[in-house]
Structures are given as C-alpha cells and as structure tokens.
C-alpha cells in the first residue's frame, strides 16, 4: 500500500464530496434531520394525554386528586363528565384516551381506612400509548398517595410507612423516571450513523462507474487496497464529525446522562463508522449505478437496523431464529455499547461482548469489501 496514492485518492474524493451538493446533504443534513425525526418522532414519551374526569364525589379531596393528575404535565383535562354513560360517549368520540373516575366514597374511605381507590380507564386501541399513559397515571397516583399518607399519618399520629395509600386500579408496573428518551436516543445515534455511513460510501464507487472515470482509474497501477483506503478516509472524517454531532446532541440537547468514558466512546464509535462505511463501499462495488446503490444501502440498513438492532424492540424478546439473524445486524453491538456507556457507565471491559462483535463485523466487512473489487471490466 502506497501512502502517496492513498493520499491522492483521499484528496480527490474529498474535493468531489465538497463540490457535490447531494453528497454534502447526505453527509451533513441527513444526520440533523434524522436526529430530529427519530429523536422526537420516535420518542415513546407522551405528554398531555387527553383526560376526562368523572368525579363522583366533588369534594376538596377529589379535587386534589384531579389537580395532581393535571399538574404532572402528562395529562390535560379534556372534559369533566357528569355521569357513567358519558364515559363511553367520550371514548367513542375520541375526546380522550383516558378517564379518571373518583368514587363517591373516596374521602370517606381514605379517612376511615387510610386506603382509597381511583379508577383509570384507558383507550387500549393504541397499546403503546396506553401502556405509557398507565405508567403516568401510576406515577401521578403514587405521588398523591405519599401526600395523603403523610397527612393521614400526621392526623392519626402513626408512622407514615405503616399506613396504606391511594391506589390506581388497575395497577400496573412502576417506572421511576418515566422517560423513554434515555433509552431511545443512544439507539437513535447508532441508527443514524449506520444509515448515513452506508449512504456516504454507497455512491463512491458507483459514481466512478457511472461517470466513466473508473475505466481510466483501473488502467493505472493503483491497487484495490489503496483505492479502498483512499476512498474511505474522507468519509471516515465525515463520519466522525457526524458522530460528534449526534453524540453531542444526545448529551447536551436531549440531556441523556453520559456515565461512561470518552476514550471508549471514541474507539467504539470509530470502529462502528469503519464498519458502516465498509458496508456502503461493499454495496457500491456490487451495484454500478448510484441510484441503485443508494437505494439498496438504504433498504438493507434501514429495516434491519431499526427492527433488529434492539434500538426499539428488545432482542431478547425475539424468537430464536430472529435473534440469530440479529447477530449479523452489526448496529446491535454499537447500540448495546452506547446504552452501556450512557446509562450504566460501563468501561471497555464490561462491554467486551458487543465490542468483540463490532471487531468481528469490521474484519468481515472490510475483508469482503477489499475482495469484492476487481480491476477488471469483465
């Protein structure tokens, strides 16, 4: 491998990207737009769930419960309902996704036994939203419960821990932070880098075929390895810039806590970029038209990466054959590395398994990419 030739190719490629609006858009605009789309659009958090309230008691206590729900910010009041029948009507007309029912004996029960129940009715047509709304309701109830608890304890002169609380019925799991963003955003970064990386290099070889410059290039003594290295270097630099942008946005804009170390983040990110660039290059070698290569790069990275990388759907919940397939979806390794780094603060040692997966992916893909290109027209 000759450094002079690699440099000549890298410099030429950088000039071409710089002068090609389409490549520039992919390099710089695409990550930004995807970050907005995926970062906000795919957020599993739902704010201002429209809530109808059927308050059978209309007491000061019941008012406190309603205010507790509304002040959480997760719910907004759609309507106050006068009777039982109005619940069905409101649901049918999509006026709300949830109804809070406070029974007529709420205050009496609370005062007598220290326990009371409110009823939450959820429109389950959107299971995901329902689950989240139920989580929110649980959260709101729990906060109310601790408030009532302290008051009851103070009034009756007993220890707060010994008494009951306000329950939501049906009761569901409890999510302390109620923030899916921390979980989603690191995955979003991996998905964006996988998509953008493959797009960037998918054009690089097919462009030369399409414009007829490849025939000239392969008539020179340049080797296939020099060509690949020279082609990948400028995109590697762009990939690092994109990664810095996405990771920076995750930490400073989306406020995902970053608990790991920067060195591990850099090493694994650089490796992942190498993998995705190599994959795009492989496609570019195989498909000789720019449009075809970019379409294929989109198709074969978008679906597996979003579905099988564990970015939204947990891999360990998948059936065994799908789990096996996900082993070659290299983005899954970077997704687990990023989650580990961001949320758990794992070091390289703790991430050994996904890191090994990433290394193997890099070796295999770069080996395939280097072998795929032949300096031949037939």
């Amino acid at each position: 491998m000759n450094a002079r030739r690699v440099r000549a190719i890298a410099f030429k490629e950088a000039l071409q990207v710089w002068r090609d609006p389409r490549s520039l858009a992919v390099a710089l605009l695409m990550p930004f737009m995807q970050l907005i789309l995926l970062g906000y659009g795919v957020s599993l958090d739902i704010k201002h769930v429209p809530l109808c309230v059927y308050d059978q008691e209309m007491s000061q206590q019941s008012r406190t419960v309603v205010d507790g729900f509304l002040s959480s910010g997760w719910f907004s009041l759609a309507r106050a309902l006068p009777n039982e029948a109005a619940i069905r009507t409101a649901m049918n007309r999509d006026q709300c996704s949830a109804v809070l029912v406070i029974p007529a004996d709420f205050s009496r029960r609370l005062a007598m036994t220290g326990r009371a129940t409110v009823q939450g009715i959820f429109d389950a047509t959107d299971v995901n939203t329902t689950n989240i709304a139920m989580g929110y309701a649980e959260g709101a109830t729990a906060r109310l419960a601790s408030e009532f608890e302290s008051k009851y304890a103070a009034a009756h002169g007993v220890e707060p821990s010994a008494v009951g609380s306000v329950d939501l019925e049906p009761s569901t799991w409890f999510n302390e932070t109620l923030d899916s963003r921390n979980f989603i955003i690191p995955g979003v970064v991996a998905v964006i880098l996988a998509l953008v990386g493959a797009q960037l290099t998918s054009l690089t070889i097919s462009r030369e075929w399409e414009r007829g410059t490849m025939e000239q290039l392969i008539s020179t003594p340049v080797t296939t390895l020099e060509l690949m290295a020279g082609k990948l270097i400028p995109y590697f630099a762009i990939g690092l810039i994109d990664a810095a942008f996405c990771l920076g946005a995750a930490i400073f804009w989306f406020k995902v806590p970053f608990r790991g170390d920067l060195f591990t983040l850099f090493v694994t990110t650089a490796l992942f970029i190498l993998v995705v660039l190599g994959f795009g290059y492989l496609i570019s070698v195989r498909v000789r038209s720019q449009l075809g290569a970019s379409q294929i790069a989109l198709l074969v990275t978008l679906l597996p990466t979003t579905l099988l990388s564990g970015y939204t759907f947990p891999i360990d919940q998948m059936p065994a054959p799908i789990r096996a397939i996900s082993l070659v979806v290299y983005a899954r390794y970077y997704v687990s590395i990023l989650r580990g780094l961001f949320l758990k603060g794992s070091g390289l040692a703790g991430l050994a398994v996904p890191f090994a997966g990433l290394c193997v992916s890099a070796l295999v893909i770069l080996w395939l990419a280097a072998r795929a290109f032949h300096k031949r027209l037939d």
Binding site: Q16, Q216, L217, S219, P221, V222, L377, D378
Partner: protein
C-alpha cells in the same frame, strides 16, 4: 523493457462475450516507437482489443504481452508501463485541470521534484495555459481530449493505448491531437491508437484494419493502398447512383463497385474496360454520366474492397 523486444506482441488474441465473438484471433506485433492505427467501423472489436492489452478484460483465448509482460498474468506490471485513454471521456469533470493532473500524478507516483515540470508540460501540451483552475466539465471537447492525453502521459509511459481519442472532436482539434501523437512518437513512445476516421489512418506508421473482430489487413498506408486493391480505381460522377452501382457490379472486368458520397468508385481489372468503355456501359443503361477519372485509392476504398472480397469468398486469406 529491453531495446530488442517489441513493445506489443499480440498472438491469436480472442475475446468472446457469451455467444458473441468481439475479437477473433488477432495477431500483431508492434515495434518500439511505432504509431499503429486500429481502423475499423464501430463495433469492430478495436476497444475490446485495447482493453485486453490494458489488462482490463481477460482474453478468452490467445495471449498478448505489453512491454514484455503478459496481459492476463501480470496486468499490474503492464499498467506501470502504459498510458491509456478510454473511449469515453474519463477525467473528473468536477475537478479542475490542475486537480486532475495532480490526482493522476499521485496515482502514478510521479516524483515530487518532477511534478511541477510534468504538470506544466501537460498543461502546455493541452494548450490549457490560463485555464488551470477551470473545472474540466466546462472545457470543449478538443481540450478535454488533450488534457486526458496529458494525464495519461504524466508518468512518461513507453507505451500508449488511445481508444478513439479524436471521436467527436472538431477537425482542427483532431489535427492538433495528431501532432501531439507524433511528437510523442518522436520521443520513442509506442502508440496504438484506434479510430473510425479513415483519414486519420494516413498519420500512422502502420495500419491494422479490423472488421467483425478480425484483423483483415496490416501494413503501411502506402502498402495497403498500393497492393490491396488489385486494380485501377475510377471515380465516376453519375446518377442515379443505385442503378449505376447495380450495373457496374455486373459489368465484365469490374472487380468492385461502391458508392462514395455522391460518386461511384469502381475498381477495374487490368486489361478490362477502359474509361470510355465504362462510360459507354453506364450510358447504355440509361445513366447520366458526368466526370470519370482514375484516382488514387483512399484507405476507405481499400477497406471497402477488402471487406466485400471477404464476404464474397469467406475462405480468402487476408
């Protein structure tokens, strides 16, 4: 490459694509410093042959050595010794003149101390002084082709393969291009150049006529024009041409007849009809005859004559 070995040796070189034989057993030896023209219609197999010589296509049968290296077994050694201009314009249109030159100088590892002078030479040669920083896509055809040649010779290759370098270029620029080719040949560069312009063949030391994948004639322009026709060429202005052609083809003593532009070219056997007899034969057929005169054959006449003779007698030797 030692001084004794020929620059290019082609031995029964054949290329088949599925059922189609693009190059059919071409044999040819090119000495150092020669300018050899590959002449033939589009699709004759010229580009395929050149691509095999550059190691870009694998020969189906036969072999070829370039600068002493086998094109199938040592393509990289071959590529170090050649400059190649492909048929389609193949520089980077979105780069400037200077950026293209610098790129190929890097690829060919032109020594840094030579870089400036080689690039200046290429720019001067292409007549692109003052346009060094212009994006190549905006240049006119003749400039593009000369720049492509400049890029192909940056590393001073002893052998040049030029595939239809003047295709689609205006006549004045074509002539300038051929001046460059002769300058290079004068410096000892071996040049194999393909063209479908018959008139350009006159600029070559030797000509290889190619048709349907086969080498149908090889020699200097003078040899081909002198010996290959086998008779005297007569140019006749007459009308209607089609009728005249039919009549002449059947006339006794006429070896060959073909339409060239708005005139008829007739090859007459020795001792056959004379000019007057020819006029008479045409006039008898109700054809208006204008001027008729003996002319020196062009290569196009030779080409047409050889091709028709082959088709009449498929077994005939070239």
């Amino acid at each position: 490459m030692s001084s004794g070995t020929p620059a290019v040796v082609v031995d029964r070189l054949t290329k088949r694509f599925d059922e189609f034989t693009a190059v059919d057993g071409i044999t040819l030896t090119i000495g150092r410093g020669e300018v050899v023209g590959f002449i033939g219609p589009n699709g004759a197999g010229k580009s395929t042959t050149l691509r095999m010589l550059c190691g870009l296509l694998t020969p189906t049968a036969g072999q070829a050595t370039v600068a002493g290296y086998d094109v199938a077994r040592e393509p990289e050694k071959v590529r170090q010794n050649i400059g190649y201009m492909s048929q389609k314009f193949s520089l980077y249109g979105d780069l400037t003149v200077r950026e293209n030159l610098r790129f190929f100088a890097g690829i060919y590892r032109v020594r840094r101390e030579d870089l400036g002078s080689r690039m200046d030479f290429a720019i001067r040669m292409a007549g692109l002084e003052g346009r060094e920083d212009v994006q190549v896509t905006t240049l006119a055809g003749g400039w593009k082709q000369r720049l492509a040649l400049g890029c192909a010779i940056l590393h001073r290759p002893p052998i040049l393969f030029l595939d239809e370098p003047t295709s689609g270029v205006e006549p004045e620029a074509r002539r300038r291009f051929w001046d460059l080719i002769h300058d290079l040949a004068a410096d000892g560069v071996t040049i194999l150049v393909s063209t479908h312009y018959m008139d350009e063949a006159e600029y070559c030391n030797r000509i290889a006529l190619i048709n349907q994948g086969r080498l149908i004639a090889l020699g200097t322009p003078r040899e081909l024009k002198g010996s290959r026709l086998g008779g005297q060429l007569v140019e006749i202005a007459c009308a209607p041409l089609g009728k005249a052609l039919a009549r002449m083809s059947a006339a006794p003593g006429v070896l060959d007849a073909a339409i060239f532009g708005d005139k008829l070219h007739v090859v007459m056997a020795e001792g056959g009809l004379d000019l007057a007899g020819l006029r008479q034969a045409l006039a008898d057929g109700g054809i208006q005859v204008g001027e008729a005169r003996a002319v020196r054959p062009s290569l196009e006449d030779v080409f047409v004559r050889i091709v028709t003779r082959k088709q009449d007698a498929p077994g005939a030797a070239a």
